[in-house]
Symmetry: C2
Subunit: 342 residues, 2 copies
Amino acid sequence: MGDNGRVTQETGARRPNIYDVASAAGVSKSLVSLVLRGAPGVSPARRAAVEEAIERLNYRPNRAAATLAGNRSRTIGVVLDDYRNLWFVGLLSGLHEQFAPLGFRVAVADPSFNAHLDRTPVDGLMSLRVDGIVIATEPSEEMFAALDVPAVVAGNRDIPVPGADVVANDDLVGSRLAVEHLVGLGHREIGHVTGGGGAARLRAQGYEAAMRENGLRPHIKEGQGLTMESDGYQASLKLLDQNPSLTAIFAANDTMALGAAGAARDRGRRIPEDLSLIGYDNSPLASANLLRLTTVDGRNEEVGAGAAKALLDRMKDPSAPLRTMLVEPELVIRASTAAVTV
Amino acid sequence: MGDNGRVTQETGARRPNIYDVASAAGVSKSLVSLVLRGAPGVSPARRAAVEEAIERLNYRPNRAAATLAGNRSRTIGVVLDDYRNLWFVGLLSGLHEQFAPLGFRVAVADPSFNAHLDRTPVDGLMSLRVDGIVIATEPSEEMFAALDVPAVVAGNRDIPVPGADVVANDDLVGSRLAVEHLVGLGHREIGHVTGGGGAARLRAQGYEAAMRENGLRPHIKEGQGLTMESDGYQASLKLLDQNPSLTAIFAANDTMALGAAGAARDRGRRIPEDLSLIGYDNSPLASANLLRLTTVDGRNEEVGAGAAKALLDRMKDPSAPLRTMLVEPELVIRASTAAVTV
DNA sequence: TCGTGTTTCTGGAGCGCTCCATTTTTGATT
DNA sequence: AATCAAAAATGGAGCGCTCCAGAAACACGA
């Protein structure tokens, strides 16, 4: 008993391996391996027999063994910084879209988790023997010290990196889009709220340049912490209090824009009637009906797809010169910006 | 040249393995293995020698080999459903907090990714040879078909599961907290917006029961799709239009509450003056200054910690009876609810 | 000095695959 | 039917570890 038909793994029952499948299908283990990897040059009859045996035994390949034997994991590691900032969602789907058809998996690591076991998330991925790494957080020296496979930095382009290609949206252009949209609506007194972190730095820089080009005086307020909602709120309050003539705020990202919207509400400024507001990222937040936020779309899916391509190129030719690829951002106009009322 | 001091891995240079470390430290590979695993009973002198060699050679253990040889990966897999619904963030940190000290990693899989390579995310984790699985999405039959290690379902408790413990917040109690808070503020006409999915179903059920207990008539409106912002918006619009006398809305989660807030604004209802609003999850969204949303905190960190404990218990004793553990939710009162004005 | 237990250290076997060189089978062409 | 190239299938070696049984080193009292 307990052994009939489809095998339900009971305690102690050894998991079937490639040899079990081979003998069940009446072929060699090597042939099973070929079928598993979808290799060409296997006769349809044998392939079907192997597949049937796999199904019947409820066989699952052991990826640890495959990785060890092949010295490659067919996995791409992605280093994230914070799950709460949703820009990575598009990035992941762009990466996945490119890698999946090639048989590569995408594995995610974030710095806060597993910190006890590895010095950096890169360490963790290295010991998984990933075939490539996408760094979607602010890159640091020690990450690159541990690096041993092709890498590409996605999203951050202000920090010079020793040995990685860079793919990002063009934050400078994005900021210009935002400023010019507001200027086109007649705004002259435009504030910017920002925070720590690479992309934010570039966005502030782009804002400042665009303002000067338009002959306008920049007003930048940096939140205490990073680029969270509360930082956007605090910075916006200060901005509004110090410059009552402000008619528009450009926030370094949508989350900070949410904070800015809170500050506007608390200061009795209606959006967009009394204050235009514009964000960055085109996150799910921006399309919420309460905000209907005009925002800069960094096209993170394209950034992800570009990162995937850069990684694949580098895996083919590790000695090719390092490249930086910039994705052109787009302005998404919703209801949080309006012509300035005199 | 290119061989001085700290070894920077060049193309073609074989990665150091446990034997390289052993001979560099003048010990056996077995001793290196012991040091790597932090085993007791290694003399301080040898331990130091090994650690020095590891550092000098820039050695990284090969987890594939360790997993294969030990027939365990010291990794717990987590199946997520959607990165955009942030309730999982607390869950992950609760899980991690418990597992990290025990030397277990936490690996995340989500259904949409790697779908081409595996039939279910559980398949993917199984071939990684995870030592346990936390299912943080709506469990399905086929997930359990592939299962071969201890599993616990976290967050969803309405679906009966064949072979897994369940840890969740008590949605029925949470809904009651919400309704009673509103009733205490004098509300009688309280609507509920909900959507598809297990937790939502229970929350609606709890709402209905609590309403009836208080002698009130329930008003439930389900969005077209799932439990996203737009579903909350649409359902709330209908609710408000059909029941103009409504003074409060309880949303199945914070994201839907954001949608409800949009609907309220579009119908000229101020929050909380004209309409009280209450959410569920206590996500980062709820604390945003624009919303200051009263919400039910499902205490996801505790759910995560509980799931970890359940999993560890089951790893020790696979034959123990299945358990369901419920975490008591808490009401977080912010500024979106107020006494009803007559 | 010699046991005798305890702690520390070691070599061998084997985990389940991939890769490769080789063998077997197939099928086209004389 | 004989020959030969191409296609399909195979067996062996080895990836880098863990685990285990046993060897070596050490501690301590008789």
